[in-house]
């Protein structure tokens, strides 16, 4: 899918201040503290959820966009951890921004929901339905105590304001490609608190197959090769998977440098690739081309090619950067973690 005249005019990220070290989780469950998937992961505070994080990321995006919320025509929120099973977050965000005459939608589409929100907003802007829209990926991922996922399931949000291309753009969309199959490597049934997963089945047939297919598909369609991209961002459930994926597709470590954050904050699910993209934008040069590929279990992958525009130079410093959030941190132990995550059941 080629995209014409649609750009990012604002972006913002958010990562909660709390961290737990994987070695602390390993201590509780008797696992070798050196054989853990990430160093540490972000933990939402007791008063945070995917909605409050989306609000902060969106307010950051608005600061960089230099627009009044009045021209926003849509707010699409992608998350698999909404505070309510029934009652959307998008309308609350609209209320916070003080806008009502808009399209507001919550989207559950596994970890792919954030990029799919982005794709939808691109479509609405590109078709002329709206002048500008907001796409958000946000999650406070759930990991069952003692489960492998507990070592990575983290929290974060990223928000993008997407508009018709103009003079002050941060980046321009070049194309997008999606790839889907029915591959249930991870799921959460209705009414269940924690998800389940297929262990090693989450690798080859799921993560690697879909990201590879979407990335290849996009590059083929646009006639691009890995060396045409300055940066690449993949969905990042851990550090190992995206590193191996980059290698398989022919990208080097330098291209992956800014887009891989899971070692610092863990897996932020629907926000993961979008926070990675935000960090790339925090560091990229004008003209850099970026490949972003998400993955959601059972949902497939979205790939985007994005070119950095010169609006980035004046807008980058208008809101906190991803690393401002990553470096402000407070460590908590497993007891406080359990309190914050409401895992202490009475």
């Amino acid at each position: 899918m080629k995209i014409k005249d649609v750009s990012i005019i604002g972006y913002g990220a958010y990562v909660p201040i709390f961290r737990i070290k994987d070695s602390e989780i390993a201590r509780v469950w008797g696992r070798d503290p050196k054989r853990v998937p990430v160093n540490e992961k972000s933990v939402p505070g007791y008063d945070e959820d995917s909605l409050t994080m989306a609000v902060e990321a969106t307010l950051n995006a608005l600061k960089r966009s230099n627009i009044s919320p009045d021209i926003i025509g849509a707010i699409l929120v992608g998350s698999e951890s909404p505070p309510y099973a029934v009652k959307p977050s998008a309308t609350v965000i609209a209320e916070v921004l003080g806008v009502s005459r808009i399209v507001a939608v919550d989207m559950e589409f596994a970890c792919r929901a954030g990029t799919t929100a982005m794709q939808n907003v691109i479509g609405m802007v590109g078709s002329g339905m709206i002048e500008a829209g907001i796409a958000i990926g946000t999650d406070t991922a759930q990991g069952r105590p003692g489960d492998e996922l507990e070592y990575t399931a983290a929290a974060g949000a990223a928000s993008y304001i997407i508009s018709k291309s103009g003079n002050d753009d941060i980046a321009r969309f070049e194309g997008s490609f999606s790839y889907v199959t029915d591959t249930p490597d991870f799921w959460r049934r209705e009414g269940e608190r924690f998800p389940r997963h297929g262990y090693r089945f989450t690798g080859e047939p799921a993560y690697f197959h879909h990201i590879y297919s979407a990335a290849k598909g996009l590059m083929d369609e646009l006639g691009l090769k890995p060396q045409d991209f300055a940066h690449v961002v993949f969905h990042q459930p851990n550090v190992k998977f995206p590193t191996r994926m980059a290698k398989q597709l022919g990208f080097n470590k330098e291209q992956l440098k800014y887009g891989l954050l899971s070692g610092y904050i863990g897996n932020t699910y629907a926000a993961a690739s979008l926070i990675g993209l935000a960090n790339v934008l925090d560091n990229a040069k004008v003209g850099d081309r970026i490949l972003v590929v998400s993955f959601g279990s059972g949902a497939g992958s979205d790939a985007f090619s994005i070119i950095v525009e010169d609006g980035i130079l004046s807008k980058r410093d208008l809101a906190p950067k991803v690393f401002d959030y990553i470096s402000r941190k407070k460590y908590i132990d497993y007891s406080i973690y359990s309190k914050f995550r409401r895992n202490i059941v009475m």
Binding site: Y46, D47, T52, E95, K330
Partner: protein, 136 residues
């Protein structure tokens, strides 16, 4: 207890002021106050306009709640502060993202959107503005 507190419309009708920090400014005596109301608490004038209050301020006083009201049980300990916003308007709000032994009078704070009360595990969640220390 307190099932009457669990009223959806009661919290719903305040959402604008709670989500967006909208105060009042008296056109007669120029005082500002939070939240908005139709009459000036200082001079009694009824000529009041809504105003978007600044999102940054300073902590004037604070307390750490160790024995909370029942709706806030299991959230303890938490900090409640009196904040003076940049324009001088004051507000009482929770101070978040800070340890109870780190909070100090006079620290600079900024507004964040957070959860306050939950009307039980199956009730609505009441959101509003809290403040967190501005990191250097």
């Amino acid at each position: 207890m307190n099932t009457f507190i669990n009223s959806v419309p009661r919290s719903w009708r305040e959402r604008k002021y709670k989500y967006r920090l909208i105060g009042g400014i008296c056109k007669k005596c120029n005082a500002t106050f939070y939240p908005y109301r139709g009459s000036c608490p200082y001079c009694g004038s009824d000529d009041i306009e809504e105003v978007n209050l600044p999102k940054k301020g300073r902590l004037i006083s604070y307390t750490i709640i160790y024995s909370p009201p029942s709706e806030f049980r299991l959230k303890q300990p938490y900090i409640v502060g009196l904040i003076e916003l940049e324009d001088g308007t004051r507000i009482i709000a929770q101070i978040t993202d800070v340890d109870v032994n780190e909070v100090k009078d006079g620290i600079e704070v900024e507004a964040v959107f957070r959860r306050y009360r939950e009307q039980g595990a199956d009730g609505i969640i009441e959101y509003g503005i809290k403040f967190r220390p501005i990191s250097d």
